[in-house]
């Protein structure tokens, strides 16, 4: 089985639940357009979510059919997306991550501030900081897409769009053009792509050049 790329999204219950779900869904739909095999789902353990509870959304992207159908948690995330910056203080975000991971944080603070709260930052290759709140300015609160229901609000209308742009900037799993065809707020997506601050850590850039 080819490598399954695991993406974990940390978000806050109810108030930013929709945004986290949108990130997972849009990433997998964009990868699906390239003919990749994908899965996107909530973490069952975190549900039912309550207001402000840290909770996880999962996405998986693979070139071949994903055979880990009954593994319901991402044990070894490659990319971790944080929708609310205060979560970096509350949770061991990089648990299970192998070397050369990517951390994408929605923050208006400097990368140094975020790194201060990531104790195992030696695992990271790249840290991406994007001020998605400042770019988009709103979090969609909508429950129509939960539990298999049809999403009537549309994907990526709020802070999910700039976050997706930041993810597209540092990974080749998804293409920005494909995301632009899915996300509602295309302008926010492009601004997130342009304004994301990418920090290479632990010689990540050097390794890529070699």
């Amino acid at each position: 089985m080819a490598r399954v790329h695991e993406i974990t999204i940390w978000t806050r219950g109810v108030v930013k639940d929709k945004e986290g779900r949108d990130v997972a869904n849009a990433l997998t739909l964009a990868a699906d357009k390239e003919g990749k095999f994908t899965q996107a789902f909530d973490n069952y353990v975190d549900l039912p979510d309550r207001v402000n509870v840290p909770l996880r959304k999962y996405a998986r992207i693979s070139d071949e059919e994903i055979e880990m159908r009954y593994d319901y948690e991402n044990e070894k995330p490659e990319i971790v997306v944080v929708v609310d910056q205060a979560i970096v203080k509350g949770v061991n975000l990089l648990r299970g991550m192998e070397r050369d991971g990517v951390l994408v944080v929605n923050t208006d603070r400097s990368p140094e501030t975020i790194l201060k709260f990531v104790p195992n930052s030696a695992l990271l290759k790249t840290l991406v900081c994007v001020d998605a709140d400042g770019i988009s300015g709103k979090a969609t609160v909508d429950f129509s897409g939960t539990e298999g229901g049809i999403d009537t609000a549309g994907l990526g209308a709020g802070i999910a769009a700039p976050l997706l742009g930041a993810v597209a900037k540092v990974t080749d799993l998804v293409k920005l053009e494909n995301l632009a065809g899915i996300v509602k707020d295309v302008e926010g997506l492009r601004r997130g792509y342009e304004q994301a601050v990418v920090v290479s850590l632990n010689g990540g850039a050097k390794k890529e050049a070699a």
């Binding site: 806050r12 840290p54 910056q85 205060a86 203080k89 509350g90 709260f117 104790p119």
Partner: protein
């Protein structure tokens, strides 16, 4: 009369030790995005925060001259900031502080 073999003397699932003051298995401090910060000079000990806190995170200290905040369980609802009569409580972002790191290995 039968005896339970030693290896089967296990506690029932879902039983946790009864908390005396705090329940260390249910720490909820990582729900917080903003925290209330008290200015003790402004505080006149009206006890509104103690009464209104849904999680009893504001308590009078033993000397009885200050209210003390419990960062481990405060969920950041900021009801206390709303109810404070003297404006002694302010809302501050969690990342402005280095303390109060709740790194739970397992969420419940």
């Amino acid at each position: 009369m039968f005896t339970i073999p030693k290896e089967r003397e296990v506690p029932f699932a879902g039983i946790t030790p009864a908390p005396v003051n705090e329940q260390p298995m249910m720490i909820t401090g990582n729900w917080r995005t903003y925290r209330p910060v008290i200015n003790h000079e402004e505080c006149n000990l009206c006890m509104n925060c103690v009464v209104f806190c849904p999680d009893a995170c504001w308590q009078l200290n033993e000397a009885g001259d200050e209210v003390v905040w419990n960062w481990k369980y405060c969920k950041g609802c900021l009801i206390c900031v709303n109810e404070c009569t003297h404006g002694a409580l302010t809302k501050e972002h969690e990342l402005d502080f280095e303390d109060g790191v709740v790194r739970l290995e397992k969420l419940f």
